[in-house]
Symmetry: C2
Subunit: 301 residues, 2 copies
């Protein structure tokens, strides 16, 4: 009998990350369920043999572990503490892994409310994208008590290739993810600024891309996202509005800590502008379209 069998896990939020995480749990031999309000997403996962429902109450019984992969902190709070929420459906000793990107303040408030009810929580944002999630190879930046790490060990084994134990305090995981997103967002925005300047100076963008990706000016995001600008293809891998949200969290974190963030604040303004121009659902590299007076490859928008 599989060591993991009998461990009942449920993934809340079946977006691209949640879908992959749920299938990874199934492959790892966990008794897996999935919850999403969207019937299409539920059907997709059910087709792979995972039991799904629109709410955890419909599934019946209690769980050892919840993995919360909803969009933001407000949704996480609602789905966990709202009426009929996850907090009412945990087995004794069970725990909740909260993996949405949210502010440290929101993570701490949620952690305090759960602690008051005797419920273990891991503050555990993730990265890696849909492909890594599908492979059970997400990167997890987690903070919380040893008891919470222990209770979620089978779930972490199933979904993560690497788990960073940032520290014991709820909020530390959220902070590390927010700071990571600061870098990721600024790298996309400055990639766009550089490519826009190249276009203005009549430098062929393929050449600019080739030089940078083979030199010290490269970044993971430049290499991945500026290819979309070179190709003039803004089909979203991750959308502009995701960085409006995440860089919004970054600037909120700066305010909360009383700390100036000149570059992140400028990049946030660029993504907010791109969204207001109507590009919110395009690929995040569409932030390049905030620059006027240039001709970019392709005319798709």
């Amino acid at each position: 009998m599989n060591q993991a069998s009998g461990y009942r896990a449920c993934v809340i939020g079946l977006g691209s990350m949640g879908m992959g995480a749920a299938l990874s749990c199934l492959r790892a031999g966990l008794a897996t369920c999935g919850v999403d309000l969207d019937a299409g997403r539920r059907d997709e996962l059910a087709g792979q043999g995972v039991r799904t429902a629109a709410s955890v109450a419909e599934l019946g019984g209690d769980f050892d572990a919840f993995l919360v992969l909803v969009v933001n902190g407000a949704q996480a709070r609602q789905v966990i503490l709202g009426q009929g929420g996850l907090a009412d459906h945990l087995r004794p000793g069970g725990a909740i892994m909260v993996s949405c990107t949210q502010s440290a303040d929101d993570a701490r408030a949620l952690g305090a409310d759960l602690q008051a009810r005797g419920i273990l929580m891991l503050d555990a944002p993730v990265s890696g994208g849909a492909a890594k999630a599908a492979q059970g190879a997400m990167t997890v930046m987690a903070s919380g008590s040893d008891a919470a790490f222990d209770a979620l060990e089978p779930l972490l084994q199933a979904v993560a290739a690497k788990t960073y134990r940032i520290g014991p305090d709820i909020g530390q995981g959220a902070t590390v993810k927010v700071i990571h997103q600061l870098l990721a967002g600024v790298h996309i925005a400055v990639g766009a600024e550089a490519m826009a300047l190249a276009a203005r100076a009549d430098i062929p963008l393929e050449t600019m891309y080739d030089v940078v990706t083979n030199a010290a000016g490269n970044s993971w995001m430049f290499e991945n996202r500026m290819k979309h600008v070179v190709n003039g293809d803004y089909t979203p891998t991750s959308a502009v509005d995701i960085f409006v949200k995440d860089l919004g969290l970054v600037t909120e974190t700066g305010r909360s800590l009383g700390f100036p963030l000149p570059l992140a604040s400028a990049a946030f303004a660029m993504f907010q502008q791109a969204s207001n121009m109507g590009y919110g659902r395009e690929d995040d590299s569409a932030v390049v379209k905030t620059f006027s007076g240039i001709t970019l490859p392709g005319n798709k928008s």
Copy 2:
């Protein structure tokens, strides 16, 4: 007889890049000389068997190729067109490879003056650092006429692992280098901003570094330079004042092209501030010291 022998090349400016380039020319079998005003640098190269002098006039005779690796465009203009300058010491069909980082406007003005005298110029900034230069493996971003590329072929073979032919017009090479430095400079500054925020939030910097360098928020510069912040060691590999100069060129390029550069402008202000605080000769990662209200590893400055 070596195909390159008889091809007389002279490197002007024996800093870390010029020193490596001169030794690479020697290894490639070129008849190599080196020029620098600093006697210590001349002695270092002379000890390796390369003939050196404080000026090209002292060396006697004419050259097939000059490689100009001085600090900026003003120095390049002086050493090439000033009294007894390089322009007076070229063999017929010889050419000058101008490899300092300078504005496209300065490169174009120099190119026009040389063209009026019938002298070939390659606008050919380089990157790769001292280690690559020593190996004859610099990256060259070059623009100019086919005749200039042809005349400098033995020199390029000796010093470069990769030569990008950006286009036929003087100024294009300078522009590509300036845009590359835009990215490099902002990546250092935002790395500093992220690490400073981590320090403010009591996240261990080693952990933050480890997470970022294994995730999509990484950049070449973050990985290379933020290690210095983690170690609290600001011994310069490249100094703050280099990026005051290079991001100054970036903002000058933005003004010249009438183009807004929100992130580069903010990063330039950060490096200028670091220099004014007295950190100009420290490693460029010392831009992190512009943030107050945090405790960083080490107390060296």
